[in-house]
């Protein structure tokens, strides 16, 4: 009988201003990976992107995103980009002080020798009047190598601030 489990592989709570976080040497012993983030950066921008790269690869990232900022909705599409740009977003200094964007990113079959589909979502409702947002992203990584590292870099020329959290979970089907 299947007995799915979700195991925390690693977590990082930042002790200071940090430009990027890399999870390296990810073991291939799980079926899927899940990232959970609570982040904020030091730039005066709402919904600043978080750059996502697998294995430091610089090609093959495509994504389709539905985005809502306050009452306005958009759709976004990138193809064969150099990183995932829309799947994860972070708050900036224009958002309510000491609030953090909440994001999730799911990677099924990360260790397989096939291309990978991914799913990302992020939500912010920090009780201010201008800067609530929500993103949902379907992504595709056109690369057949097993994913062994994930690098998350703050967008713009900004950095993640202290107390931003990064959790990486491994999920097994049985």
């Amino acid at each position: 009988m299947a007995n799915p489990t979700m195991t925390l592989i690693s977590s990082q709570t930042l002790g200071g201003t940090t430009a990027s976080v890399t999870f390296s040497s990810i073991p291939a012993t799980y079926n899927d990976l899940k990232l959970v983030l609570s982040t904020r950066n030091n730039e005066a921008t709402n919904n600043e992107y978080i750059q996502i790269k697998f294995n430091s690869a610089t090609t093959g990232y495509s994504e389709t995103t539905l985005k809502g900022v306050q009452t306005t909705t958009y759709s976004l599409r990138t193809s064969s980009a150099t990183y995932f740009q829309y799947a994860l977003q972070t708050e900036g200094t224009v958002n309510t002080t000491n609030t953090f964007a909440v994001s999730e990113f799911y990677i099924p079959n990360y260790a397989s020798a096939t291309t990978k589909q991914v799913f990302g979502s992020v939500a912010v409702e920090s009780n201010d009047t201008l800067n609530a947002f929500i993103f949902a992203t379907a992504g595709f990584f056109n690369n057949s190598a097993a994913i062994t590292s994930i690098t998350l870099t703050s967008g713009g020329s900004a950095s993640f601030v202290q107390y931003s959290d990064f959790y990486l979970y491994g999920i097994k089907n049985s």
């Binding site: 990027s20 890399t22 990810i26 020329s157």
Partner: protein, 74 residues
């Protein structure tokens, strides 16, 4: 200068070091590219909105009511 955090998920070892000049340059280049793409997209959206406003104005001059225009263009 901001730090870079690297977590080895097999050993649990965490390395924290300053960003290298190369990493800073790469981040700035990505930011510039993203900014250019955002501005291009914003211009496309602004052009589309201007075209819509122009079309609504012309429809009104043809005698369509606000309800009829809304039925056509939303």
């Amino acid at each position: 200068m901001a730090d870079v955090v690297i977590v080895d998920c097999t050993t649990g070892e965490v390395t924290t070091r300053p960003q290298t000049a190369e990493e800073i340059a790469a981040q700035k280049a990505s930011a510039a590219q993203a900014q250019a793409e955002a501005e291009a997209k914003a211009q496309v959206e602004a052009d589309a909105q201007a075209a819509k406003s122009s079309a609504i104005s012309k429809l009104a001059k043809l005698g369509l009511t606000d309800e009829e225009i809304a039925a056509l263009v939303g």
